[in-house]
């Protein structure tokens, strides 16, 4: 028997709300559990550390949200971070601002390259970014013979260590600005709609007259740009550049954050706020495991289970919708 229309509408609204707010609820739940069970969790220090640690994976995840919303994937972000870190650390002699600028431009160029190849030759993004991931990591390692490069530039380290008013870490402010800009473009500007259009129906988007070539380059360049900033922040925080490990495996955390956040993995509407919660969920799990002296391996298993549960729940709720 079909339920009365009003009842069905109400149910639809409830389900829609459930989908929209599920990452927030999961985060809320994990935080509550932590406040109760983890000693010293509810303190300013913990929160500040959490915010500092989440910055780089959050920035990468923001860029990844656009890429995934456009139906692609970018696994070269970690290598881009390493390259930017190496280039800027190597050139730091000419001045911190200049070297960071050159480093970030290098990063953006690699994103433009990825976008151009993907759009021009119509190749699967995973393969293009896979080859870039392998190749760019190689370039980053060659720059300093894969040795660690120590930074002795106070201006550079400023980005990783400075506290505004002695309290708020500077990278948190950077992350906030990035979130606001990305959210604004995604939901209020034409470019955001174009990303969604490319992701949902590539052919139709092309036929409507949207220049998908430019849109795709913009998406991958933005992703690389955000990864570059993450690379600079991480380099400044540890005041050294290590091309072998910097940013390795970060693409997995970023993809997981986007998946938990509710952006459809096959392309669709970019959900920036969801991604923010997704990145926070993953970071809170890591922090929780650390603070309770549980060996870090449990966090890997926990992350895996949460990714699967989140995606399964999304599918389940969507099928109800």
């Amino acid at each position: 028997m079909v339920a009365p229309l009003k009842e069905r509408l109400n149910r639809d609204i409830v389900i829609n709300r459930l989908i929209d707010y599920s990452p927030l609820m999961v985060l809320f739940f994990i935080v509550i559990v932590n406040v109760i069970f983890t000693p010293n969790f509810a303190s300013v220090n913990t929160l500040r550390n959490l915010a500092i640690q989440v910055t780089s994976s959050l920035l990468v995840a923001l860029g990844m949200t656009w890429v995934i919303a456009s139906g692609g994937i970018d696994i070269s972000v970690g290598s881009v971070m390493a390259l930017v870190s190496m280039v800027s650390a190597k050139l730091v002699g000419i001045g911190a601002v200049q070297s960071i600028t050159i480093g970030i431009i290098t990063g953006i160029l690699s994103g433009v390259l990825a976008g151009a190849i993907i759009a021009k030759f119509n190749i699967q993004p995973i393969i293009v970014t896979l080859s870039l991931m392998i190749g760019i990591r190689g370039v980053a390692q060659i720059i300093n013979d894969s040795k660690i490069l120590r930074l002795d530039s106070p201006e550079y380290v400023f980005i990783g260590r400075h506290r505004i008013f002695g309290e708020i870490p500077i990278q948190v402010v950077i992350a906030f600005v990035a979130i606001i800009i990305m959210y604004f473009i995604s939901s209020r500007m034409v470019f955001g709609r174009k990303i969604q259009a490319v992701g949902e129906n590539h052919k139709a988007t092309e036929l409507v007259g949207i220049n998908t070539f430019v849109v795709k380059i913009g998406i991958y360049a933005t992703c690389a740009f955000l990864a570059s900033i993450a690379g600079v922040i991480d380099t400044a925080r540890i005041s050294a550049s290590d091309a072998n490990i910097l940013g390795s495996m970060i693409e997995l955390d970023a993809i997981a954050a986007v998946a938990i956040g509710g952006t459809p993995m096959n392309g669709g509407k970019p959900n920036i706020i969801g991604t923010v919660f997704g990145a926070l969920i993953i970071q809170v799990i890591t922090t929780m495991v650390n603070m309770n002296n549980i060996s870090f391996e449990y966090s890997l298993i926990l992350k895996a289970i949460i990714i699967i549960l989140a995606l399964w729940a999304q599918r389940f709720l969507h099928s109800k919708r």
């Binding site: 896979l130 392998i134 060659i142 997981a256 895996a304 990714i307």
Partner: protein
């Protein structure tokens, strides 16, 4: 259409179909002219044997990719199978092999369950099991490798024995799987179904193919081959390594794509992947022999070759469509 093309000796067709073989031959000729040691028997066998382990998972990857999926968990399955084998190594060889392969099959089924039943994108589902299994490995081994002091002679012989003289067993299994897998893909109903669902899943479903069953089987095959790889590795090294296979999924995908398999599914051959694996292996050898060259150039070269192959692939695809 294929026959006609053969008659006219279409250069483009040859280039497209056998590009991995051609690249391999070019690299081989280059290396044997440049380095004297290269053509010795020991060297050639080494080249083959060293690459069998990544080769097994590349074969599994090829089958999954042809069916339109992807399996990132192979490296983790390899490692956990190797550890199971190491822990069991003092028992009867039949039990060891059976349990190790069962591990792979079970974890392959887990992937299949997530992809087929929970309908999670293969990339994410296998990513999660890759992270989860690796975490479990660290837990159960305490991040130490598992030694095999009491291993039986038969266990040692899995990789190092020579049933056929001059050919190490690891290589024998590798070639056997290449032949069996190649025949399976080409001549059996199941093999053709794999191509069908990778090429056009809706059409395959309408033809009455049990799509879910075939998909499920491909992930199990991939898990099985990963555990074969783990078994061979533990037998070869004499211990179960907890870091084994870390990042190998990427090399397996690279070898598959260089071997001419379409990443979107529906097209590909195991023999292509075989040469894809050898191309990556021969490049590593060349970079090792060229002592003055920085080894990091190897990564760059791998990236460039991979990119070049996919671009050539896509160009010929576009031409074919027109």
């Amino acid at each position: 259409m294929d026959i006609k093309k053969h008659k006219n000796f279409n250069l483009q067709y040859v280039l497209k179909e056998h590009s991995s073989l051609l690249i391999f031959i070019l690299l081989f000729i280059f290396a044997s002219i440049k380095y004297d040691v290269f053509l010795s028997r020991l060297f050639v066998t080494n080249l083959l044997v060293q690459n069998t382990m990544v080769g097994f998972i590349a074969f599994g990857m090829t089958i999954v990719i042809i069916a339109g999926g992807i399996d990132l968990s192979v490296g983790s399955i390899l490692a956990i199978s190797g550890i199971v084998a190491a822990r069991m190594s003092s028992y009867n060889i039949v039990i060891v092999v059976a349990l190790t392969l069962l591990t792979g099959l079970a974890l392959g089924s887990l992937n299949a369950f997530m992809v087929v039943k929970l309908k999670i994108v293969p990339f994410i589902a296998t990513l999660a099991s890759m992270i989860g299994i690796r975490g479990y490995i660290h837990l159960t081994t305490g991040s130490k490798s598992v030694p095999t002091p009491d291993r039986t002679l038969a266990f040692k012989a899995i990789a190092k024995g020579e049933i056929i003289p001059m050919i190490p067993n690891a290589l024998l299994w590798f070639l056997l799987i290449l032949i069996i897998g190649g025949l399976l893909l080409k001549y059996t109903r199941f093999g053709r179904h794999i191509y069908a669902i990778g090429g056009n899943i809706e059409a395959a479903r309408m033809m009455g193919i049990n799509v879910n069953k075939v998909k499920w089987a491909t992930y199990m095959i991939s898990g099985l081959l990963a555990s074969v790889s783990g078994l061979v590795m533990t037998s070869r090294l004499g211990s179960g390594q907890f870091t084994a296979g870390d990042g190998w999924e990427m090399y397996a995908i690279a070898a598959t794509v260089i071997g001419g398999t379409l990443i979107t599914g529906g097209r590909g051959k195991l023999s292509g992947t075989f040469f894809g694996v050898l191309i990556l292996g021969i490049m590593r050898q060349i970079f090792n022999l060229q002592g003055n060259l920085n080894t990091w150039w190897q990564n760059i070269a791998t990236g460039v070759i991979l990119l070049a192959v996919v671009i050539v692939q896509s160009r010929t695809m576009i031409k074919k469509k027109l």
